[in-house]
Symmetry: C2
């Protein structure tokens, strides 16, 4: 491989990565500022400082764009703990999720996600986004099963959903405080719950 090729390769990779990052960041900004109605590819492209065609060529539809942007943000901002302890992993996961959800961007995003979306493609995008996120995080429970800490029948994705939903519920609807004891209380309930048998 020549130095030029290596350099060109690096440059292309670096530029493509920077464009991707700028577009995904712009998607999150537009979604949290303007909601579903304002989320269009021209708007995102303008916010990112790129041509519309760059976005259309890479993502095709705004739904693919928004799923990619949400998953990318979750990957970066919501790492899945792997401490070797189910308890510590779940408390860590819930604590991180609370931190992320209660930032100004997190609150704006939760409102944008929960606003009525008449477009079935947006409904489908949200559905795929959370399915992927819950499956990713349920690695915590898969590892606990592998260690023999919980039975192999444990309903991992439901456990993650039951830890996640109350945080959004408190942020958006009930406005009950997300106090320091909350991750612990949720985790206690779910760890015992993961030992449930078919009812």
């Amino acid at each position: 491989m020549s130095a030029l090729e290596t350099g060109a390769g690096r440059f292309t990779h670096g530029r493509a990565a920077r464009v991707r990052e700028a577009v995904l960041d712009a998607t999150m900004t537009v979604l949290s500022d303007k909601g579903w109605a304002g989320l269009t590819i021209p708007e995102v492209a303008a916010q990112a400082g790129v041509h519309d065609t760059t976005v259309y060529r890479r993502w095709g539809t705004r739904e693919r764009l928004v799923v990619d942007a949400l998953l990318d943000a979750a990957d970066v901002q919501l790492p899945i703990p792997d401490t070797g302890s189910l308890h510590d992993d779940l408390v860590g996961f819930v604590t991180e999720l609370i931190t992320l959800t209660t930032t100004p961007l997190g609150i704006a995003l939760a409102h944008a996600l929960s606003a009525p979306a008449d477009d079935p493609a947006i409904v489908d995008a949200c559905s795929r986004y959370f399915r992927t996120r819950f499956e990713t995080a349920s690695a915590i429970i898969d590892r606990a099963i592998a260690r023999g800490d919980v039975p192999p029948t444990a309903d991992g994705t439901l456990a993650i959903e039951m830890l996640t939903a109350p945080i959004h519920f408190r942020t958006l609807i009930s406005h009950h405080p997300l106090d320091d004891t909350f991750p612990q209380r949720l985790t206690n309930m779910i760890i015992a719950g993961l030992h449930s048998v078919e009812g």
Copy 2:
């Protein structure tokens, strides 16, 4: 007591009850149609066909009105099961809640409740409403404790919140289907969860 007094008493009671019902129904209609921004006492009074002063005299503020309207609707439409079985009570509770949440009014109301409320009095009203509802429903767990079915340390209000939040989460945010198996899966997790020990 004279016949007239009895009659007058009945009439007053009946009329007051009818006015109360009309105003509370109007509150739910205005909230689900117009959201927080449109929820004013004059608007509710007009919708109910009563004078503004009738509403001001009885409820004082729109926040007291909305908490009363929401709790009244929940009392009527979301009875707390008492079958003698924790399992059947929880499955019944979740099933009823899903039915209520997925009606057109239920969906509109969930969107109205989750819309940004800049008014701290509205935030406080939501908070009080859900605290009351969770405490009322946690009678299911109190009875299970009294029967010796779960330990006295069981976190009843958290259990009810963890059954409630995923339903709102699916309706508003993830759009995952609220299928027939969902009440059973949530109930299995929570019944085992109620046996958790302090962690």
